[in-house]
């Protein structure tokens, strides 16, 4: 706790005047509100871009638990995303002749996601740092190769097509505008839960492990269980994001679950601000919206994105939004103490 308050005060010094902070916080909040208020009235293309952004926000929130809260570098997160997407693809398409509703599939996918997370977590949590990173990377690749090769089950490289349109209680959730609301609700629920979790005793344990694993062990934290919880919860969220992705594309293939996707999500977290839900929004916005805005520049936009990344990391190595600027602090900054 004392580290937290110390960091708070340091952060306060660093971020400049109260007015400046208030302005920044206001802009951030206004951006999120505007996004939700304006998007439904935009042409479908823009809604699709925002949907894609929200799916990445969801993925970012999930991976952030492992990277930002517990301090473990996971480069295979896309595997859980794939698990969710293929769960929906298999249970709601002609592939297996099953046509379950999305409300039934969501908990199934969440459970499969959690189990996969624990299965990966159990053997590898002894590893630290770079070794954990490469093992998770290998795990992600193994899942992708399996999806690409188990032709009879997954359709192989052809993927699964003709996936059912989703509907919840008779309300169709298939058009971009409808998927948008599903995503807004999901991001809100998942975001709130994760944010509560961060402030719970489990969240404190994650922070302890992140800051000093041996000390955490010393004060009686069961580091293995706490890390497993991080993996399982993160995998669950990844899997849920996968279900929504599959329901919105109505087509899944292994191409969507490459190593580059994992790296992209890691980058969002790091650029936006590790361990911070608002940071995920900012990071995802930069990495998803910018390439769309720069669409006509083809190769140049990738060059620009690369250079921007280097610059951003050098200017703000801890991310654009500091760890301490959570939703509560946002409100405090906005409305004074």
């Amino acid at each position: 706790m004392s580290a937290q308050t110390l960091a708070d005060s340091r952060e306060a010094e660093a971020t400049g005047s109260r007015l400046g902070r208030r302005l920044a916080a206001f802009l951030l909040l206004a951006a999120i509100v505007a996004l939700i208020a304006v998007t439904p009235f935009l042409p479908n293309y823009y809604i699709r871009v925002v949907n894609s952004l929200l799916i990445y926000v969801l993925l970012g929130i999930g991976l952030n638990i492992v990277i930002g809260y517990a301090g473990l570098l996971d480069l295979g997160f896309v595997a859980f995303y794939a698990v969710g997407a293929y769960t929906y693809g298999l249970l709601a398409s002609p592939q297996l002749g099953l046509h379950l509703p999305i409300l039934v599939i969501l908990p199934i996918a969440a459970a499969i996601g959690a189990i996969t997370g624990i299965l990966l977590g159990m053997p590898v949590l002894r590893l630290r740092g770079d070794y954990l990173a490469i093992v998770t990377l290998g795990f992600g690749e193994i899942i992708r190769i399996l999806l690409n090769n188990l032709d009879d089950l997954t359709g192989g490289p052809r993927g699964i097509f003709g996936i059912d349109k989703a509907s919840i209680l008779g309300v169709s959730i298939a058009r971009p505008g409808e998927i948008f609301w599903l995503l807004v609700v999901t991001v809100f629920i998942v975001g709130t839960l994760v944010w509560r979790l961060e402030r719970s005793i489990l969240g404190k344990a994650w922070a302890a492990i992140r800051e000093d694993q041996d000390a955490a062990k010393g004060v009686g934290i069961n580091t293995t269980n706490v890390k497993l919880a991080a993996f399982a919860i993160s995998a669950t969220i990844g899997s849920i994001a996968g279900v929504i992705f599959a329901a919105s594309q109505r087509f899944v293939s292994p191409e969507s679950f490459t190593l580059q996707e994992s790296v992209l999500i890691v980058l969002m977290i790091v650029i936006g601000g590790m361990g911070n839900i608002l940071g995920v929004f900012v990071g995802a916005s930069i990495l998803i919206l910018l390439p769309e805005v720069l669409r006509e520049f083809a190769e140049w936009r990738i060059l620009f994105l690369g250079l921007l990344m280097v610059t951003l990391i050098i200017i703000r190595p801890a991310g654009i939004v500091p760890r301490t600027l959570g939703p509560v602090r946002l409100v405090k900054v906005l409305f004074g103490k």
Partner: protein, 316 residues
């Protein structure tokens, strides 16, 4: 059958020595900075493009280049790439040296993206034919076949790896670099110019990577802007497998990975009675990597790392 075995062994050795040349770059940087340099694969790619550029500046028609031009181009390209490596370290990694451990790695990812895009813009995204730096003759050899380029790659990579090992263990530069990798703070106290040692590492690593890139492009006859990503990932895996930070480990890891890949192709369908085809080769490679790390968490030849140094985020 003997011929088949010989053939596949030669194949594994050739692939392995290319992986090794690149794995060394990863491992050296890691040894000194405890940082995975994701842009290292791009040094490999830059080496090939730089050699191609040098050749076309010298002789116009790249295919007709003589031995002299090829030699000059080779050395010009590896030196140039070495300097590019030093420049990148100065611009993109040095400002982050006292930052979190993850920051320079992600900065290197940005560098990697930018370099690939820059080459795609400058040289075009399509693969290009690459001239042969060695005359290519094929020999029949115990029933297998062996080409002069394969022999050339084996010899060149063993010379480079041996040279590096001598440089690191026997020379003053090597001692200084090792001191820095042991403890940057202590080295500084002893009056060692830490920045210069780090620059040295970022010169030699890319230089070896570039040499690997030229050998590779010359062997396969093609260069592409994305060639660094694929081989880079393999080499990185090899470095981890062998124990990142260890030079003999990187070489061992590279040859083991190559052997697993070749054996996976040759044996998987047989040992699984046809249920698993060659497409599961990479699954086998990663599975072995994971198994090795579970039993030797620091890789085969890696020294056990202090847990403290492996913690990722320290930002307060």
């Amino acid at each position: 059958m003997v011929g088949h075995f010989v053939q596949q062994t030669v194949n594994a050795l050739t692939i392995g020595s290319i992986y090794a040349l690149i794995a060394l770059g990863y491992t050296m940087v890691y040894g000194v900075l405890k940082m995975i340099n994701f842009a290292h694969g791009e040094m490999f790619m830059l080496g090939a493009y730089a050699a191609f550029l040098a050749l076309s500046l010298m002789v116009g028609d790249v295919g007709s280049a003589g031995a002299l031009a090829l030699t000059v181009a080779f050395f010009a390209a590896v030196l140039a790439t070495g300097f590019v490596g030093v420049g990148i370290e100065r611009l993109a990694y040095k400002p982050l040296r006292s930052s979190t451990r993850i920051a320079p790695m992600l900065s290197s990812l940005g560098v990697s993206l930018a370099l690939v895009a820059a080459i795609q813009i400058l040289a075009g995204p399509q693969p290009r034919a690459f001239p042969s730096f060695f005359p290519n003759e094929r020999f029949e050899f115990f029933g297998g076949s062996l080409t002069t380029i394969q022999i050339g790659i084996l010899i060149a990579s063993f010379i480079l790896m041996g040279g590096l090992q001598i440089l690191v263990t026997k020379t003053r530069i090597g001692i200084v670099v090792r001191a820095v990798s042991e403890s940057r703070a202590t080295a500084q106290l002893l009056g060692i110019n830490v920045n210069r040692s780090i620059s040295m590492v970022f010169f030699v690593g890319p230089l070896l990577g570039a040499a690997g890139g030229i050998l590779y492009a010359s062997y396969y006859g093609v260069m592409t802007p994305t060639m660094g990503a694929v081989v880079g990932l393999k080499a990185f895996t090899a470095a981890i497998l062998g124990g990142i930070g260890s030079i003999p480990g990187a070489m061992l890891g590279a040859f083991i990975l190559a052997a697993v890949e070749v054996a996976g192709t040759a044996l998987l369908p047989i040992v699984s009675f046809g249920t698993l085809g060659t497409e599961y080769r990479d699954v086998l490679a990663f599975a072995i990597l994971i198994l090795v790390l579970l039993f030797r968490p620091a890789g085969i030849l890696g020294e056990p790392v202090s847990e403290e140094s492996m913690v990722y985020k320290r930002e307060f």
